[in-house]
């Protein structure tokens, strides 16, 4: 459809081929062992320097930047909690117009937004849905730590059933206050948007390079794309920060968080818990490792 310039990405075959240079660098106010920081680090490593990024309000906005400093090497801008989709559309539209009118060089510039589960899955889902209906090249990454982690862990639409949060504390009368089932954001967005050719779920560290390649695939396929990442949160899930990667791995291996891609409507399981090793591990192994 479009003759717009593209960036040729190579598939990252193994951890030794991961680009060495950081474009999101040390000096961010994230928690020890923050998995979402790894998500940030990974997507921009994959995308490369010809990229503009917006970050919706949330943990990874407030934690990431501490005014007048920044950990970002690429251009980055804050956007409001519910504006993940629209910020990406705005930038993509602006860049396309400027290129068409010859006001800037005609080259591929990636537009990436990251929003948390509260921003992308709840408040901003309308804007993201609209963005996925557009014909702009943009990627929206929902980093899902299953809570409003910035404000000290409140339940969101992506919080799992039964979880303790500051909005859903156990009490003497009700031991379970979180009685909503986790929203299937990736699935919902995948089925409803014919223009969106690529939706994926991923985890920043497991399996290694899977997430990085999904980012590249999304950017290469073009048009509006969406990736839902699974980000264990030491603060909210209450585990020792050193186990961040393990918690992600366990969540995937027990089948609570399936990894898949939806490419042009076809669902491909990229890592099937049922077919790995001895099959799915008991969910208990995953849950018992959280506070």
């Amino acid at each position: 459809m479009s003759t717009a310039p593209t960036i040729d990405y190579e598939k990252i075959k193994g951890v030794h081929k991961i680009p060495l240079e950081e474009l999101y660098t040390s000096g961010h106010r994230t928690c020890q062992g923050c998995e979402s920081a790894t998500t940030m680090r990974g997507f921009i490593k994959s995308a490369g320097s010809r990229t503009v990024v917006t970050g919706a309000t949330g943990c990874m906005y407030v934690a990431n930047t501490s005014y007048m400093t920044t950990p970002w090497i690429v251009p980055w801008m804050h956007t409001q909690l519910g504006a993940g989709g629209s910020s990406a559309v705005g930038m993509a539209a602006g860049l396309r117009a400027l290129k068409r009118k010859g006001k800037i060089k005609d080259e591929k510039i990636n537009v990436i937004n990251f929003s948390g589960d509260l921003g992308a899955g709840d408040m901003g889902i309308g804007g993201i849905s609209a963005a996925l209906q557009s014909d702009y090249d943009l990627l929206i990454i929902m980093y899902d730590n299953e809570s409003a982690a910035n404000t000290d862990i409140q339940a969101t639409g992506s919080t799992t059933y039964g979880a303790q949060t500051t909005f859903t504390p156990p009490g003497t009368k009700h031991s379970i206050m979180q009685r909503r089932w986790k929203k299937n954001v990736a699935g919902m967005l995948a089925v409803g948007h014919p223009t969106c050719r690529y939706v994926a779920t991923a985890c920043a560290t497991f399996p290694p390079t899977d997430y990085l390649n999904k980012v590249r695939k999304a950017l290469e396929i073009g048009g509006p794309t969406f990736i839902h990442t699974y980000d264990p949160c030491p603060k909210g899930w209450d585990y020792h920060p050193r186990y961040s990667n393990e918690l992600g791995e366990l969540g995937i291996k027990c089948g609570i968080y399936p990894l898949y891609e939806v490419v042009d409507g076809n669902v491909i399981y990229t890592w099937d818990a049922r077919k790995s090793g001895k099959g799915r591990i008991p969910v208990k192994e995953f849950i018992s490792k959280q506070g």
Binding site: E22, Y67, T69
Partner: protein, 399 residues
């Protein structure tokens, strides 16, 4: 008269502990007929795991509550503290809670004849190797013990809270008296063990206690503070539209070859740092790939150096390292500086191995997954040079 107590604690891990100490000082001082209130440093919120934070309690025997509030409450940070409690001794290396704050000495707010009360296994002299000099004398008190690190939901009830109250009572009974502390704890918890813990801490800090745990620090004791305290720019010196220049792009192989955020280093977040045996390294890349703080610098010979200025000590690298004894988390206070371990190793590998084994010692602390559930200490071993012992297999997944 106002007595100000400051509690330095580790974000999230000690959030509930810090608040509890502040609250109980108010409760006890009030029962003693004093006016008191408590608050946290608001800008620490939202808190991050490990980042140095503060909680305060203010006590006055004679001021009206409103006056006390006006003197102490209308500020986000206090100017002086009569007692500065340090719930994790690694904060003695300085604290930097956010950008443009600079790494500040832990005793920055301690007044003349005031007291720095630290939970530590170290001696006074060992701690003073990290603490900045003051122009006047103050006291350094040590409550023997490890840092109590729990989580947001899991409470580690190891009596640190009660011991702190007892310690404060020993240092300055006019803030809270030990009798009032005991009476309060007994009444509130009906648990004599808690009152006893406060009393034991109190006794350990009394003048006649042996060995003496409170020592006067004279003006020439401590170190010359090497970290600059930034001067904030004026309004017309800042770029408009809340714009900040990005970190300058730059990467080359080798120590500190990656550009990093110069305005906010994160080193004071850590209680432990990864110590690396390069000779055991299989160059698997996992420490580098999984580091959420981008602290590892790839070197031309395939290793990964560490920029300790930015390492927050999360321990992920040690966790994912597939080789026994290759990366081990070691108490931060065993290290004097942040120099490059790889350069040291390259200069003299034998000397480095000996040095790093010396730092590692024999104790290996392993944590359960859930925070605050205690820890187990095992004995480590010295691996002969180049002896690679796999401890876990990383699952090979072809995507």
């Amino acid at each position: 008269m106002i007595k100000r107590v400051e509690v330095n604690y580790r974000g999230i891990f000690q959030k509930n502990l810090g608040k509890k100490i502040g609250s109980d000082i108010v409760m006890i001082a009030s029962r003693m007929g004093q006016k008191a209130f408590s608050n946290g440093r608001y800008s620490d919120s939202p808190e991050r795991n490990g980042i140095p934070c503060k909680y305060f309690a203010f006590v006055s025997p004679d001021l009206a509550e409103e006056e006390l509030e006006a003197e102490c409450g209308a500020k986000l940070e206090i100017d002086e503290a009569n007692i500065s409690v340090v719930l994790d001794d690694t904060m003695c290396k300085g604290v930097e809670p956010w950008g443009w704050h600079g790494i500040r000495p832990i005793n920055e707010r301690v007044v003349k004849d005031g007291c720095l009360l630290v939970f530590s296994r170290k001696s006074h002299d060992e701690l003073l190797k990290f603490i900045g000099k003051k122009p006047y004398s103050y006291r350094l008190a040590i409550l023997d013990g490890d840092a109590s690190l729990a989580g947001l939901w899991v409470n580690k009830d190891d009596l640190t809270h009660e011991r702190t109250l007892g310690g404060i009572a020993a240092i300055d009974p006019s803030v809270i008296s030990i009798e009032a502390v005991e009476a309060y704890l007994l009444e509130k918890t009906k648990d004599k063990r808690r009152a006893d813990a406060a009393r034991a801490a109190y006794e350990s800090l009394r003048q006649e206690a042996k060995p003496p745990r409170v020592q006067t620090v004279t003006p020439n004791e401590g170190i010359d503070w090497m970290h600059e305290i930034p001067v904030l720019p004026k309004w017309f010196e800042m770029q408009e539209g809340a714009v900040v220049p990005a970190v300058k792009r730059g990467f080359e192989m080798g120590p500190r070859g990656q550009t990093r955020n110069p305005g906010f280093k994160r080193g004071t977040t850590k209680t432990q740092r990864p110590a690396v045996r390069f000779d055991l390294c299989t160059k698997c890349t996992l420490c580098w790939a999984e580091c959420p703080d981008e602290c590892f610098d790839p070197t031309t010979d395939g290793f990964y150096d560490i920029d300790y200025q930015y390492c927050v000590g999360c321990g992920k690298c040690a966790q994912v390292c597939p080789v026994k004894e290759c990366i081990v988390m070691v108490d931060e206070l065993r290290f004097e500086d942040d120099s490059s371990p790889w350069e040291h190793w390259k200069k003299d590998s034998q000397d480095y191995i000996q040095w790093v084994e010396d730092k590692k010692g024999k104790d290996r602390v392993s944590y359960p997954v859930v925070t605050g559930k205690g820890m187990t200490v095992t004995q480590g071993e010295v691996m002969p040079e180049g002896k690679i012992v796999p401890v876990r297999r990383t699952e090979e997944v072809e995507v």
